[in-house]
Point group: C4
Chain length 186, copies 4
C-alpha cells in the first residue's frame, strides 16, 4: 500500500501536478481510511507520512491527517470510491477561472472523462464547506475541479484516480493552448 | 526487445508526450507483431505488458492488445515499417486543430519530416475507421497526425519512430510559439 | 546539513527554478552562516560547495561565498530567519516586470503567501544596494521578488523557504496563464 | 573527458534543450578535437559516441563525426575556444525568428551574455556555409543564435558553454513571456 502512495505521489510531483507540499491522497480500508499527513511532501512519501483514521469516527491520529480530511471522508461516505487523489494541475486550475465545466476535445479525455464540473467558490469559504458538493458531483463524474484550488479524482484504485488527473491536465492544457490562439476546438 | 520498449516508453512519458496510460508501441516480427497491452503505462513497461499477435490473424492474446491494434496492423500490412510509435505530443495535438499539414520551420524538423499531414476526424468516428488513411499516408510520410488524438510515426526501428515523434513536437512547439505571437515563420 | 542543501538545490534545479549555476542558499548557525559557493551548481552540491563565514565578520573563506552574500547577511541581521533561498522562478520573474505586488489567486498561494512585494530596480544598481530593502520587506513577508532578478524566501528551515518558492511560482504561473488570456482572476 | 560529455549531454536533454538525437558537443585537444558522433543521443552518450579528428586535417574517423563538424572546426580555427555546445533551446529558437539580436532583461543573462547576435539564414543554405559567420561572431560573443536552428556557445570548458546555453534559454523564455503579454521589458 505504501508503495502505491509513493509511486503516485512521486509521479504527481515530478509532472508538476502538485507543489512540494501540496495535494493529498487517500484510500478506503473498510471503515477506515489511510490518508497523507498534513503538509507531507507527495514527492517523497515515507511510512510515517500515512495516517489512519475512521471514515466517520476520529482516532488519536486524526489531527495529523491532511487538512482536507473532511473532503475525503465525505467522498467515501457518499460514493463507492475506494481511492481519492487531490492535486493542483496548473492548466486545469487556470481553466477553473474561465469555464463552468471542462469538456475535453481530445479523444482520450473525452472517452475517459466526458465532462468535468467546476465548482466555483469564493475565497472566504473553507474547503470543508464544499465537501458535500464535491462528493455529490463525484457520484456522476470521475473528476471534479474546484476553482482556484485543484482537482479531486475518485476511483477504485489510487493509480486510476491518478490517471484521471493526468488526463484532465492533458485535456486542459490542450484547451488552454487553443484558447490562447483564439481557436474554438470544434 | 523488451529493453527497447522500456527505453522508448519511459522517454515518451518523461518528456510529457503520453499521459500515464496513453500511447502505444509496436514492432513487426515476421508475420507477427509485438504491441503494448491495453492501458499499459508506457513509463514503466514490464514483460507482461507486451502482447504478441498476428499481423493478419488473431491469437489468444489478441484481446489484451492495445485498443489501437487495428491501426498498427494496417500500417504493417500497407507499408514497409517495422516499428510504430503512437503518442499524444501536446503542441502537435494543439496544431492538429488549426492546420491541415505541419510544415516545420526549424532545420531539424524540415530535414527529417519535411511535411506532416493532419487527418481530420469527427469525434464520433472510431479510430479504427481511420486506419487505412493513416497507413496510406505513412507510405509517403514518416509521421501522421490525427486531429484531437495524436501522432503515428513509422520506421525501421522503435527508437527512430520515437525520434521522429520528438522532432515533430519540437517543430510544433516552435510553430505554436510563433503563432501565439502572431508571427508567420517565413 | 549538507543533505538539506543537496535536496533543496536539486529540487530547485530539476523544477527549472534556477539555471545550472544560478541561485543560492544559506542557513544561519549562531553568529555564522553557511552559504553556497560563488557559481556553484545547485543541482549537484558537493561538500566543498558550502562556505562558512560570519553574519557580520569576514572569515578567510568569505571571498568564496556567493556574490549575493551581502543580501543573505542583511536578512539574518534584520529578521528572525534561519534559512534563505534565492531562486529565479521563470513566471515570477516575468510578472516582476508587470506587477508591483503579487497577489495569488489560488488557495495554497493565498494561504501561504498572502502578498509578495516586488522590488523594482534599475539594471545599473548592484543587488547589494537592495539588500536593506529586501531584508526590511522580509520582516513582514515570506518571499520578496526583485524585478528582473528573482525571489528571496526566508524561513526557519531551508525546506520551508524552498516550499514558499515553489508556491510563489505556482501562483505566478496561474496568474500569468490567466493574464495571457486577458482574464482577471476575480 | 567522457564523463563531462555525459553530464552536459544528459543535462541538455533532460532540460529539453535538444531533441533525442539533436545537438552536438566538442572539445579541442591540441591539434585535434573530440566531437559527438553523427546522430548520437546526447541524453545517453557512450564511449563509442565520441569521434576524434583533426582541427584542420581529416582522420579515418572524420566521416562519423557530427554533420556540423565544419562549424566546430571553424570556431576552433578562429577563436580561443576550447569547448563548443550546439543546442536547440526552444524559446531562443522562437525568438530567432523575431529578433536580430537577443538582449537579456534579467540580471543573470545581462551579466553573462550582454548581447547574443542572431544569424538569419535562408533554409536552402547549408549550415556549413554559415560556419565562418558563426566563428567570427564568437570572437566577441559567448553565444550565437542561428535562425530556425539553434545556439552555438563557445568557452574554455564544456560545462561553461552549457551554462551559457541554459542562461540564454532562461533569458529568451523571459523575453518571450513578456512579448506574449505585449510588454516591453524596460
Amino acid at each position: 500500500m505504501l508503495s502505491q502512495f509513493q509511486a503516485v505521489g512521486q509521479a504527481l510531483f515530478t509532472q508538476g501536478l502538485v507543489s512540494s507540499q501540496g495535494g493529498n491522497l487517500s484510500v478506503k480500508l473498510g471503515e477506515h481510511l489511510l490518508i497523507t499527513h498534513r503538509g507531507s511532501a507527495l514527492g517523497s512519501i515515507q511510512e510515517g507520512d500515512l495516517v489512519e483514521t475512521g471514515i466517520t469516527k476520529n482516532s488519536r491520529a486524526t489531527p495529523l491527517a491532511s487538512t482536507e480530511l473532511e473532503v475525503h471522508r465525505c467522498i467515501y461516505q457518499n460514493t463507492s470510491a475506494l481511492a481519492v487523489v487531490h492535486a493542483h494541475p496548473p492548466y486545469a486550475v487556470a481553466l477553473s477561472f474561465t469555464e463552468k465545466e471542462i469538456i475535453p476535445c481530445d479523444v482520450e479525455g473525452r472517452a475517459l472523462l466526458a465532462k468535468v464540473p467546476v465548482l466555483s467558490t469564493n475565497m472566504a469559504e473553507k474547503l470543508g464547506e464544499l465537501a458535500e458538493d464535491i462528493a455529490r458531483l463525484l457520484k456522476e463524474h470521475r473528476v471534479v475541479l474546484v476553482r482556484g484550488h485543484g482537482s479531486f479524482a475518485a476511483s477504485q484504485l489510487l493509480e486510476e484516480a491518478y490517471y484521471y488527473t493526468t488526463v484532465l491536465e492533458q485535456s486542459c492544457r490542450l484547451l488552454y493552448l487553443l484558447k490562447a490562439l483564439g481557436v474554438a476546438p470544434r
